[in-house]
């Protein structure tokens, strides 16, 4: 079942490949804008890097959130999903996983390349990548709640960011914190394990409030 949902969402994403490619480009462009806005001193750039990369990852994920359920809502598929025999939470879990594969994973793959632009050491690059690998699933999970709550609501997209970004802040702090800790010579373990806890919570706990919110949206 989970596979059916993931498969369908992935096929849809492949069909609009532009989505994946463009999400990655958004990430790249945001990350590259900063040096333009801030100026080119390498020292300052290095200290900004974890923050900028993580904020860009947050924003890129968030941008793709509104479509998580909106398309299915508009064309009536969401009703059909709600009426499917298995619990809605499981379906949502499938959609969250598919969302991460499409919107989160590419960022993880890109991060080391972009980190080089900021003159990060290989240690820091590794930690950056690992922190994104652990943290982005949490972003998808938490984001799903916001996407469901704002479904069909006036002012959807931006209201969504208002709801979701505050909840993303802990992920940002631990994620960027892990890299910062590496840069300043402390170990990243503490941050990473907190991030892991957030990710587990985000992926396995979030589908249930999300399902509840979807039912409310369809009423």
């Amino acid at each position: 079942m989970l596979r059916a949902v993931i498969g369908r969402d992935l096929r849809l994403a492949m069909r609009r490949q532009a989505d994946i490619v463009a999400a990655m480009f958004f990430f790249i462009i945001v990350v590259s804008l900063f040096p333009l806005g801030v100026g080119p001193e390498p020292d300052q750039l290095r200290r900004m890097a974890p923050g900028v990369l993580w904020v860009a990852a947050l924003l890129a994920t968030m941008l793709s959130l509104p479509r998580l359920f909106a398309d299915d809502h508009r064309d009536g598929t969401l009703e059909q999903l709600t009426l499917a025999p298995q619990p809605l939470g499981v379906i949502v879990l499938g959609k969250v996983i598919a969302h991460w594969l499409v919107a989160g994973l590419p960022l993880v793959v890109l991060a080391p390349v972009l980190g080089i632009q900021f003159d990060l050491s290989s240690d820091a690059l590794l930690v950056l990548t690992v922190s994104l690998l652990i943290g982005t699933p949490a972003l998808s999970g938490i984001g799903a709640i916001g996407a469901a709550l704002t479904l069909g609501v006036r002012g959807g997209g931006v209201l969504l960011s208002l709801l979701v970004l505050p909840l993303y802040i802990p992920v940002l702090i631990f994620g960027a914190g892990a890299v910062d800790a590496t840069l300043s010579g402390l170990g990243p373990q503490a941050h990473l394990s907190l991030l892991g806890a957030l990710a587990l919570g985000g992926v396995f706990f979030a589908p249930w409030p999300t399902a509840a919110a979807l039912r409310v949206a369809l009423e």
């Binding site: 209201l159 208002l162 909840l167 919110a213 409310v216």
Partner: protein
């Protein structure tokens, strides 16, 4: 089962709660005034100067109550929201909506007084430390809750959606509270600023507690007032509101 619960929340509860709240409100106002006067007297007239911070520390008598209340109200709001979601009781949804603006007010006041305190003490209005940041998140959560409810016209749907958000956001409260313990930050941890002499500490503590109590009573009074307004608006087609509106005008026009 459904039948009775529905009838209960739809008709009985707001109908009985409305006049009850009307009777309670003056008492809470009185208590708020009493505690407020006492707390401010102790805090601003009697309590001695702080050894390190001078007179500026007196902001504590506003800042701490506001901060406490901002967190506490969120917990209460989430509690009502959860009850409403679980048992489909409409009154609790109304309570949650009634609490949110006051909670947002206190979150804002906590930030404001904190910022005004930070300038003389830390030399800056704002630092991105964990306590301050998580308090800011709290304000955003309140605003998110209010905005979400405002964006949904169907009150029952708004209640449910808001409840889900409120419950999810509860995780932020322990983060605010323990942030000073978990991260070493600029912000004082508990009781650091209470200076050495135990008698002074006691005096400050009393002032703080009384002011907090005043804010607490204020919040209850305000929430009850607001919930009554919400009830009128949402139940305007029920018989009891119609009776109230067309019949004895004194109850509705009189300010409680």
């Amino acid at each position: 089962m459904t039948d009775r619960v529905i009838n209960w929340y739809k008709y009985a509860s707001p109908q009985t709660f409305y006049p009850l709240a009307g009777k309670l409100i003056p008492w809470f106002w009185a208590l708020a005034a009493l505690f407020g006067i006492a707390g401010l007297t102790i805090g601003f007239l009697i309590a001695p100067t702080d050894a390190q911070q001078g007179e500026g520390y007196r902001i504590i008598f506003l800042h701490v109550p506001a901060s406490w209340l901002s967190m506490f109200i969120y917990l209460v709001m989430a509690f009502w929201a959860g009850i409403g979601l679980a048992f489909n009781i409409r009154l609790s949804g109304m309570m949650a909506s009634a609490l949110a603006p006051t909670g947002a007010l206190f979150a804002f006041l906590s930030l404001w007084t904190g910022a005004l305190w930070g300038k003389p003490m830390w030399g800056t209005w704002w630092v991105w430390d964990a306590r301050l940041t998580s308090e800011l998140i709290l304000l955003f959560l309140y605003i998110g809750f209010i905005a979400l409810q405002a964006a949904i016209d169907d009150p029952r749907r708004a209640d449910k959606a808001g409840a889900i958000l409120a419950l999810v956001g509860v995780v932020n409260i322990p983060i605010i509270y323990f942030s000073v313990k978990w991260w070493n930050t600029l912000h004082q941890g508990a009781s650091v600023s209470l200076t050495k002499a135990p008698s002074m500490a006691a005096m400050m503590l009393w002032g703080m507690l009384l002011c907090a109590l005043a804010c607490w009573m204020y919040s209850i009074a305000i929430a009850l007032m607001r919930v009554r307004t919400i009830m009128l608006e949402r139940e305007r087609h029920t018989d009891w509101v119609r009776a109230l509106l067309s019949g004895n005008g004194h109850d509705t026009s009189r300010h409680p």
